[in-house]
């Protein structure tokens, strides 16, 4: 398969959040600011790419019956690695993302990719696929984070653009749902236009 195509499909057409509606919890949970979204996305991307890599390496030696448990173990190990490394080197970010780092393990995107793509494709394609999906995911989280940060605290990646308070609602839970909802509407409208 054309590697660029393979990579780019995860960005828009099969974007985990905006097209497949997967991995929604971290999407809503951590995106109080763009930077948090970015970090969460990168952590997920790492796990995605690494687990895709390993799964595609071992795909031929793993019997079908124990496929899923084996994949889970692989993914969980990488999640633990991410957890430990973040805790050690970027503790502030780890605190901000909290529960959602261990929860990468149940992000349907990760298992779904391992299962649907990496277990059937070559190592190289699998890494590209994982990176594509991961970056697509990162992109959506960053966009949502940026929107919420902009509306909610009037800042962009921590830079304060307006003085004083903005629409506090958007950094609170309801704002997460509303912002994502209207972003999806926007996506639909763009689709209408291009269709």
């Amino acid at each position: 398969m054309n590697q660029w195509k393979n990579f780019s499909k995860g960005l828009i057409k099969e974007n985990a959040v905006f097209a497949l509606f997967l991995g929604l919890c971290p999407t809503l949970g951590v995106t109080t600011s763009a930077i948090n979204g970015l970090a969460m996305g990168l952590a997920t991307t790492f796990v995605l790419a690494m687990s895709n890599l390993v799964v595609s390496l071992v795909k031929n030696v793993i019997p079908d019956k124990v496929r899923i448990p084996a994949f889970i173990v692989i993914i969980a190990s990488f999640v633990t690695v991410v957890e430990l490394v973040m805790k050690g080197y970027v503790p502030a970010l780890f605190d901000a993302l909290g529960l959602f780092i261990p929860l990468i393990v149940v992000n349907c995107v990760v298992l779904g990719r391992a299962e649907a793509f990496a277990s059937k494709n070559t190592v190289w394609s699998s890494i590209v696929d994982g990176l594509g999906m991961g970056i697509g995911f990162t992109l959506s989280l960053t966009v949502l984070g940026a929107v919420r940060e902009l509306l909610g605290s009037g800042a962009f990646f921590g830079m304060k653009l307006i003085s004083g308070d903005a629409l506090l609602l958007f950094i609170l839970p309801p704002g997460a749902f509303l912002a994502l909802g209207y972003l999806l509407v926007l996506v639909n409208m763009l689709k209408e236009k291009t269709a």
Partner: protein
């Protein structure tokens, strides 16, 4: 020969119509509007006109340019939304905040769902809570009554419920009560609060008018007010130092406004009388819970929104009594 019109029966209709009902509600809101203008003067006038104008304008713009349907901004429902939104804001709130609230009310609360009749949550309350959460400072600074010419520069103070919530941290009810406005003031509306909620009397007059016109039935307002009365009454009897008396609860905050005009919104309330009573009791209970145990001094707005969310379930499970299920031989 004439070209006859053919249609299925019936061939005759009442002359009731949606705009007529809506304007009926508006008429019944007029006494409260008059009282508010009397107490809050220019601020009330600015907030109300901005709110109404923005609601109607947003409804028109969204229908015209985004939904591409025939605008129905003049059917009266946007006017009610605007009026009620203004009624539950402090009269000294900057006008641009009012516009944001109107956008949230009409845009998020109503048009997102497809407009009149489709929304799940009460649009005016969506607007209000949106503002309340977004601008908690501006939304909890209440102008004192009687400042005719002051708008955003009005002197502010606390609402009776706010005083109660604050005071209870270190005082008993008995010590707080002398500070809150007298019973007569609570009834007439000379106190701090959202601009339209202050006068229980004017709101009750509106309720009677709506009942007379058969716009609303008694079920929702009465069940809410009765529940609040009974629940707070029980608490008060149990510990009069910790809990204010039921009359205080009935006459303060947005309870009257909410019970009479907002919980009764057709679109977002249940369809059967039994359902209405469940809904009313639920709103009453949640209101009292929030008022007495929660972080916010007032809970009607949240209570109504929460039960707006439950309304579809109520409608699904509470059915009118069907004819002829049981046979009684008499």
């Amino acid at each position: 020969m004439n070209k006859f019109i053919v249609s299925p029966s019936p061939h005759t209709y009442t002359d009731e119509s949606v705009p007529k009902l809506m304007y009926g509600v508006i008429i019944s809101l007029l006494p409260a509007l008059a009282v508010s203008v009397w107490f809050f003067g220019i601020g009330m006038i600015v907030v109300t006109s901005v709110s109404i104008a923005s609601c109607i304008l947003f409804e028109y713009l969204i229908q015209r340019y985004m939904m591409k349907v025939k605008p129905s901004h003049l059917d009266g429902s946007a006017l009610i939304t605007g009026l009620l939104l203004a009624f539950c804001l402090p009269a000294n709130i900057p006008f641009w905040m009012v516009m944001i609230g109107a956008l949230a009310a009409v845009g998020i609360g109503k048009m997102t769902f497809g407009g009149l009749g489709n929304n799940i949550f009460n649009p005016a309350l969506v607007g209000r809570v949106f503002l309340f959460i977004s601008f908690p400072v501006a939304m909890t600074a209440w102008p004192e009554a009687g400042q005719w010419m002051q708008y955003t520069d009005a002197v502010t103070g606390a609402t009776p419920l706010g005083m109660m919530k604050e005071g209870l941290a270190f005082k008993t009810v008995g010590e707080i009560m002398p500070e809150v406005p007298s019973f007569l003031h609570l009834l007439s509306g000379k106190m701090m609060g959202s601009s339209g909620e202050v006068s229980a009397l004017a709101l009750l007059v509106g309720m009677l008018y709506m009942m007379y016109r058969k716009i609303i039935s008694w079920h929702i307002p009465v069940s809410i007010l009765a529940t609040v009365f009974v629940f707070t009454g029980v608490l008060w009897l149990a510990n009069p130092d910790r809990f204010a008396d039921p009359l205080f609860h009935l006459l303060t905050g947005g309870l009257m406004l909410g019970a009479i005009f907002m919980a009764t919104d057709y679109v977002t309330s249940p369809m059967t009388h039994k359902g209405m009573i469940i809904y009313g009791v639920g709103i009453g209970v949640v209101t009292v819970l929030i008022r007495t145990f929660g972080a916010y001094p007032e809970g009607v707005q949240f209570a109504i929104l929460i039960f707006n969310g439950f309304t579809p379930l109520i409608n699904k499970f509470v059915k009118p009594k069907r004819f002829g299920k049981e046979v009684s031989r008499g």
